[in-house]
Symmetry: C2
Subunit: 316 residues, 2 copies
């Protein structure tokens, strides 16, 4: 019995109706030619807060137990989950407390503050866990984990439900892997409808914990990640690991220069802004991975939150 | 009797079927909130060659007179028209000769060469006209003008036909103005179907020739343009001026800092790559122009060809 089922994701999709965007699916002749495949891009970079993370955060907070409904929400995140929780709390009329380890990206701070969340800055990730516990105690708060939570996973899976509704005959799905929340929801949604879809996790070679964790069937902690794909620097969790072991067809690992090239392909050729984590799932197509040639390949473009200050400051 | 009619544009749309992309229309809650309007973006940045220019170039070359069908195609352009002509010639099995005044952007050179066109570099725009005449004579070539050509205008108008087919009840249409080819086709397509649509031309204050030309009813030449919107540095032509005088509801003029801000809004919030010329048509919405408030506003996002080298070189 899995902790998340297809009906859970279908219910989440109903709850997110009119709140989360139904994001468009884009195709590109140039991408098809470059990859020797037929590629469909599920553009979650067009989702609210610029990333799929809004789906899970909103759904997890909306479906908290009655006893937790009035409590302040607390989470640790310096990335898109922080924005997802902050916006979800604003929409649901709740207090959000976000613990962020320094250095804090000023653009991300601004985005979170824009949704009226409270930010608690701490010197490092170790201190973040301490601060989280303090806040949960002091505020009588409720913790919304960034990926290891069945309610959140059900929310993330709604992107795949929409994807299959618009493109019903995908052979393969590619998505990046960090903590595995998106991919867990994606696996259950995809295989619940079509058990033959092959789902691959895409991971930077500078942060190869997930592939090891799945192979060894234990959580190999992420230590000293070296990748620009900020969103993928986390370890798996005990909820996500068994789901991934059961469903994944395999992994594609991607070098840093491939991440930047894929990101640039998206900007220059596809004219969409994607973040490095999303580029990790595009890169296997651009190197024409054997398993993808001739296939109908769906890519979950997870987000588009990129700091372009250095570019725009030069223009003025 | 106008030189381009609605049936001309409808025929052009048939000819472009399966060759040009039917580009998507995007909407954004954030943009609607920022503008106090309901905004629809016709994303020609997703068109082949990354700009609407492919439509007109392909249509003009396809519909050349029989006596001109075998001749090499010659044009002057350092921008998107060059790429449009080069790709159209490649698809139609014709030779393309592109005259480009220095300095030549290396990325644009590469794109044109990628379509197997021949580039003729000249020191300045004055020399470009001389070179054009030389090539037409030496090669027995045929000239495809960048905007002042009814066949080309009919091709550009197909973007508006598609736009109205997907969003039938627009109140207002915004588009940038350079030589006026896109706007001429847009006016005839829009008013041919719905005479009450109000169409505004958007022009940088650093290149204010079109507004003067329309007011004075004579072509005021563009001298010393000072704008990052490269595509808008040209004067009107004798085909486009009368069409614009007849159809335009007015002009919005836009400062350079507004262009950069609108471009950044597109990248940061909408997650799409747009070039400065397109940002010129977004800027009036972001300053909440009175005539746009509460209206259903269509914007033609003309292209997405931006040199992001400086940004990506930093990432690696």
């Amino acid at each position: 019995m899995e902790p998340v089922s297809l009906p859970d994701i279908q219910k989440a999709a109903e709850r997110l109706g009119g709140v989360a965007h139904t994001t468009p699916v884009l195709t590109s002749r140039q991408l098809d030619e470059a990859s020797c495949a037929r590629v469909f891009l599920k553009c979650e970079n067009f989702q609210r807060v610029g990333a799929f993370k809004f789906r899970g955060a909103y759904h997890a907070i909306l479906t908290l137990e009655p006893a937790e409904q009035a409590k302040p929400v607390v989470t640790i995140s310096s990335g898109n989950h922080a924005q997802g929780v902050a916006l979800a709390c604003q929409l649901l009329g709740r207090q959000a407390h976000i613990v962020i380890a320094q250095p804090v990206n000023p653009l991300k701070r601004q985005a979170v503050l824009g949704y009226h969340a409270t930010i608690h800055e701490v010197p490092d990730t170790g201190q973040a866990e301490v601060k989280l516990c303090d806040l949960l105690e002091q505020l009588n708060g409720v913790h919304i984990h960034a990926f290891n939570d069945p309610r959140l996973i059900a929310g993330q899976g709604t992107a795949m439900l929409e994807f299959q509704a618009s493109i019903p005959d995908l052979d393969v799905v590619l998505a990046p892997i960090g903590g595995g929340g998106l991919l867990s929801g994606t696996c259950i949604a995809a295989h619940g409808t079509n058990p033959s879809i092959r789902i691959y996790a895409c991971e930077p070679t500078g942060a190869l914990d997930a592939i090891q964790s799945v192979r060894k069937n234990r959580i190999v902690p992420m230590t000293n990640p070296r990748t620009i794909a900020e969103g993928l620097r986390t370890s798996l969790g005990d909820v996500t690991l068994p789901i991934l072991r059961k469903h994944l067809a395999g992994f594609f690992t991607v070098e840093e220069d491939e991440i930047v090239s894929a990101m640039r392909f998206a900007f220059d050729r596809l004219k969409i802004v994607i973040e490095p984590s999303s580029a990790v799932a595009l890169a296997p197509l651009l190197r024409r991975e054997q398993a993808l040639i001739g296939k109908r390949v769906g890519v979950i473009v997870t987000g588009g939150n990129v700091d372009l200050s250095s570019f725009f400051e030069k223009l003025l």
